[in-house]
């Protein structure tokens, strides 16, 4: 890459990080990022007084809770945070009448777009990865993950944490690209952002329309290893399952598997697999007895 372009991207990054993180433009971002922290704090506070709710106890309950919680993180704060920051990269400057300072610099337009995109990506990633990690660590420790040594290097918790952070980073990357494009081409980007949000929300209700679509969705987290038997690794499906976990055994998602929990699903946990066509996937539709009560895993093909 041309060293001048790199230098210019660094210059844009320096300018934009300041605007994105340390100006009034950053306030909605911080407000959105604080909602999961508040929710986690509220949950911990209430549970400390009245005890951990029955539904959240144990690895399966905790996994369901985590799935819901981080679904909320991705669906609401990350989505709208990305919408705010990325759409304002150009539109905000047009409204402030300060975009011309960029256009009057000897910068190629594509370098300008790349620089702005990278800056917004870094800003949103810093904020939301920070939020996600904080929520995860606080909830994980509260629900007993520390006790199992889950966050030790190579432990189950670390894998899950890294998975979450990766998915959040991926969400910033993907949403960012979409919202940057929307902000570039549309004068009022609020409407398309809402349409996209509704579309994403309605996705689980529209199975027929989902064929061939790829979504960034949160991995299903299962805090705390149940300490069952050897884990069978099905690489074809990108999913690892604890077959020998006995009555307490659960399906455990790896980064390769992308999970999705929908609130309207009556608490059932639905797994959508990244490799849907694999025949191995169908084995997942047999729920193990304890799981079937609260959490049934199934696939859509």
């Amino acid at each position: 890459m041309n060293p001048l372009w790199l230098s210019q991207v660094r210059g844009i990054l320096r300018l934009e990080l300041r605007k994105n993180l340390f100006s009034m433009r950053a306030m909605p971002l911080y407000l959105l990022a604080s909602t999961p922290l508040l929710a986690a704090a509220l949950f911990i506070m209430v549970s400390s007084f009245s005890g951990i709710p029955e539904d959240v106890r144990g690895p399966v309950g905790a996994s369901t809770f985590f799935a819901y919680f981080f679904q909320f993180v991705l669906n609401f704060p990350v989505y709208f945070g990305c919408a705010w920051i990325f759409m304002n990269l150009f539109r905000g400057e047009v409204l402030d009448r300060s975009l011309h300072y960029y256009f009057l610099a000897p910068v190629r337009r594509d370098v300008l777009v790349a620089g702005k995109y990278v800056s917004a990506l870094v800003s949103t990633a810093i904020v939301f990865i920070g939020t996600t990690a904080t929520c995860f660590l606080s909830l994980y420790s509260f629900l007993g993950g520390w006790g199992n040594g889950g966050l030790a290097i190579g432990g189950q918790g670390v894998t899950q944490l890294v998975t979450y952070l990766f998915v959040v980073g991926l969400a910033c990357l993907g949403y960012g690209a979409v919202f940057l494009a929307v902000g570039l081409f549309l004068r009022n980007p609020v409407v398309p952002a809402l349409i996209l949000f509704l579309w994403e929300g309605a996705n689980p209700l529209l199975p027929g329309l989902q064929e061939g679509q790829h979504h960034v969705l949160p991995a299903v987290a299962l805090p705390g290893s149940t300490g069952g038997g050897p884990a069978g690794v099905d690489r074809g499906a990108g999913l690892r399952m604890d077959r020998g976990a006995g009555p307490g055994g659960v399906h455990r998602a790896d980064p390769g598997a992308v999970g999705y929990a929908h609130p309207t699903d009556g608490g059932r946990l639905r797994l959508r697999l990244s490799a849907r066509r694999s025949p191995c996937v169908s084995r997942l539709s047999r729920p193990s007895p304890p799981v079937s009560r609260r959490c049934r895993c199934q696939t859509t093909s």
Binding site: L4, S7, Q8, R10, G11, I12, R14, L15, R18, K19, F22, S23, M24, R25, E93, D96, R97, S98, H100, Y101, Y102, F103, L104, A105, P106, V107, R108, R109
Partner: protein, 314 residues
Amino acid sequence: MGDTNIVFDNVSKFYGEVLGVNRVHLSIPPGITSLVGPNGSGKTTLMNLMTGLLQPSQGSVRILGISPGEPERLFRHVGYCTQYDSFPRGFSGRHFIYAYLRVHGIGHAEANRRTDLAIERVTLSDAAHRRVAGYSKGMRQRIKLAQAIAHEPDVLVLDEPLNGLDPMARAEMIDLFRDLAERGQHVVISSHILHEVDLISDQVILLNEGYVVAEGDIRGVRSEMEKHPLQVLIRCDKPALLASRVFEQDSVVEVKIHDDRQGLLVSTRDADKFFLALNQVVLDNGVKVTEVTPADADVHAVYQYLIGYEKETA
């Protein structure tokens, strides 16, 4: 020639059905060039075309041989101080200039040096570390100017740069423009303040309703306006005698004795011929002349004749 000038070749710009500028042919040499015209005459459009912020509907523009479609080359040579009184939020004056120099790809040390130099040139060193949001209108105007000159461009385009400045600051800015022009740079200024335009400009471009009405040295433009005879104010001790003698000249079309009876106003269609004849008349009649001044050879008069007259007749 073309590579040292700013060249407009049959340029037209339309905003839908609204005319911006039409069929503009210009070749602007180094020095101070003023764009003069009423609101909506096309001054800012011409400047935006010059800097690539607008694309011409027809024709082509070249700045020192560079097309405005190549911003990465063009803006190494061009600085533009727009009329927008807007800045990125939360920046100090110094950081504002420094940050955009870094966007140019200039390294830290060099950007710092140029920032300090630019701030010093607009005499804003004391306030450089304050936030731009807290600046007065004049200070904001100066920090914009500093940003436009910080990368040391060969062509400086300034849209209403004297707006909001107090007389002292205006004088300083005019000195700065002169200094830049003397170094061989192009300084293109749009302004409504005609007497200042008259003082600082090497050449003037008069615009009206999207058309270039006149261009060039203002005296040259005035001398070509045959429809309006040149008026010359002569202060002397025998105005009545001088009036009768000069009126005998063929080139003189009108003579008026001044109200204070200490001078006369002569209208002539041929200034060169008149001044030769005046010398002879003064010598022959022993008239003591204290002042001879063209009364309507400035930008204001030319503006009135070319644009004010058109507006009145319209």
